[in-house]
């Protein structure tokens, strides 16, 4: 469904993304995993053309994303990012409905759709509709952010470390509800994270990037069992070691 072919982004002589070819199937969630500077966010932004590639191309359903005007393309792709980016001068309902307004929907239709979306992300429309983003908690804000990204019923979602700024408990709850929504709607998604555990929890497949190059791509189990190189092995080892520490603690208490 989504395909990047020889995708490259150069800044001067340095390549942020270097000759990257990836494929995401219909209904699949692909995680882009890597440290800072690995090129994962740059790759994501080339899909909805927030960044234009230096070489290579991106297709969705076999169609080059360059065919549409950038703003029309983006109205069809949900986009959630770590800094949330809710508009502080608009109410929650206006934030969620903003893409629909741009698409020219009528007021009543937008109101109905916004309520539906707020319920989908487990917020109570009556309590929250007319509030300003500043009055919400971080977790609530990101739920609104997800609702806004889903407004125009996109088939493709791009998520750039969406839960990175949240505390662990809130993050866990949002991950769970996101996974539920994704299954219900059958979304195709690219999910950027630097958090190994998160990658293992949400990803159907994981693509590991390092210095702009693809190191390994495959299901979580394949990466755990057969890491392609030392970099991937180190990445995988970290959560495993942590899990073993937790295990030991639990066993110690039982004894």
């Amino acid at each position: 469904m989504i395909e990047t072919i020889g995708l490259t982004k150069r800044y001067g002589s340095a390549a942020a993304v270097d000759d990257l070819s990836l494929h995401v199937s219909e209904g699949e969630l692909l995680v882009l995993l890597g440290g800072s500077g690995s090129g994962k966010t740059t790759t994501l932004k080339m899909v909805n053309r927030l960044i234009e590639p230096s070489a290579g191309r991106v297709t969705i359903d076999g169609q080059d994303v360059g065919i549409l005007a950038a703003h029309e393309l983006r109205r069809r792709i949900g986009y959630v990012f770590q800094r949330i980016g809710l508009f502080p001068h608009m109410t929650v309902a206006e934030n969620v409905g903003v893409t629909l307004t741009l698409l020219g929907w009528g007021a009543t239709r937008i109101r109905r759709r916004v309520d539906e979306l707020l319920e989908l992300v487990e917020l109570s429309p009556d309590l929250i509709r007319t509030r300003r983003p500043a009055e919400l908690s971080g977790g609530q804000q990101q739920r609104v952010g997800v609702a806004r990204a889903l407004a125009s019923s996109p088939r493709v979602m791009l998520l750039d470390e969406p839960f990175g700024a949240l505390d662990p408990l809130t993050r866990d709850r949002l991950q769970q509800s996101f996974l539920k929504i994704r299954r219900e709607l059958g979304l195709t998604a690219i999910f950027v994270t630097h958090d190994m555990v998160e990658a293992l929890l949400v990803g159907d497949r994981i693509a590991v990037l390092n210095e702009g190059r693809l190191v390994q791509v495959g299901p979580p189990r394949a990466l755990l069992l057969a890491p392609a190189d030392d970099y991937v092995r180190q990445l995988m080892d970290t959560p495993m070691r942590q899990a073993r520490v937790v295990d030991t603690l639990l066993e110690g208490r039982q004894l």
């Binding site: 703003h71 983006r74 990012f81 800094r83 508009f87 502080p88 903003v98 741009l102």
Partner: protein, 511 residues
Amino acid sequence: MSEQLALLPGYLTAHLQLTLFALLVGTVVSIPAGVLVARVRWLDQPVLGTAGVIQTIPSLALLAVMVPALAALGFRSIGFLPAFIGLVLYSVLPILRNTVTGLAGIDPALIEAAQGVGMTPAQRLRRVELPLALPVILAGVRTSTVLTVGVATLSTPVGAPSLGNYIFSGLQTRNLTAVLVGCVAAAVLALCLDGLVRALGTAILHRRRGWTAAVLAVLGALYAYTGASFVQELRGRDGGRVVVGAKTFTEQYILSQILAGHIRDVTGAATEVVSSLGSTVAFDALRADEIDVYVDYSGTIWATIMRRDTVATDRDAILDEVRRFLKERHGIELVGALGFENAYALAMRRQAAERVGIRRIGDLTAHAPRLVIGGDYEFFGRPEWKAVQDTYRLVFGAQRTMDASLMYQVAASGEVDVISAFSTDGRIAAFDLLVLEDDQGAIPPYDAVILAGPRLVRERPDVVAALRQLTSTIDADRMRRMNLAVDQEGASTAAVAETFLHDVREERLGR
């Protein structure tokens, strides 16, 4: 007081016209320019730099420079236009800078979000960037509002009536009530307009539709009222009205009323007095037919218009040469001399002068190094001063420049020893100052002369003929008494002029 308040509606309306329309145009120009600068980064330095330079030009100079600039381009160079353009230029910087700052201060995450949800650049500007920058932009509009209301008082010397008329004429005629009324009215106006802009901002930011509509209605009504009165004035401007000009001192205010009154008496033509014009502004306005007649002084034309740096002292010779020059070069007619001179004269406290035995300028030579001389803004730059210095070999201990209306008082209190007085000023006698005799004839004659503009000469010979009747009707003593009546005794210039006109009428009937 009530006499001053009667003038308020007229001045206030004129002031509002200037301020409101300058602000409107300033805002309409600055906000798009600010958006452009925020988008095209390399424009930042040239645009903000230019606006900054304009802002540093003293406002009085900026407005005054508009007069010759407009005249050179062939536009109406005095009145509304120069003041309006100057004010627009002045209002731009705060709004422009705040628009740029407001747009630059928006969180990049919000820009990315706006792109991410699929806004076009124009939608992003309208739906996200401008609303978020609005509080900062409005702060700029408020700064401009207060600034413009203040600077608009300086429109008076370029011929646009404003609340500044109170201040300029009040300072010159020592009418502190008028000055106070002008200052208070301008301050209250600034506060009111600032309050309106602030209310509009608050209403928009809190999305109070009712409030927004109410504030907009008030603003709309103000614009409609001032706009309508402006159009009415434009319509009323033609129709054979004779415009009499006056410079910025008491004598000129009185003489302009006398000329206007006499023209009305004799020809029945409608007249309009444009007062408090800057010295060269008045001449430029006459030359361009924007005023029809005013009184100037032969020595002034000689020195500042004809740019002669030699000092001639023969009254008739100078009059003849000035008359010929004005006719040939500018089509202006020197209608006649009123009969008195208002020359520069060195004056000092009588007591101090008598103590050391000074009667003539020549007597000053030995004492000058220990004395301080005060002069008006022009005096020390004029050829007469150089002539006086050379002729009498004067070297003063210090020289101070000050406003002409303050000189006499300062001399009387002994803060300066000698001043460049005007010979017809009533305050010479009032403060018991002694005019020193120009025994070697260094100062040229300053005959007060009526000048008629080219259009008046061509189209209204009857008016010119009427003006000619005023030749030799006012001697120095009479002028001094009239000035004193206004400056010291608190009479209005209109009343003093009316008394004089009454005498003229009597005489005409008697004849």
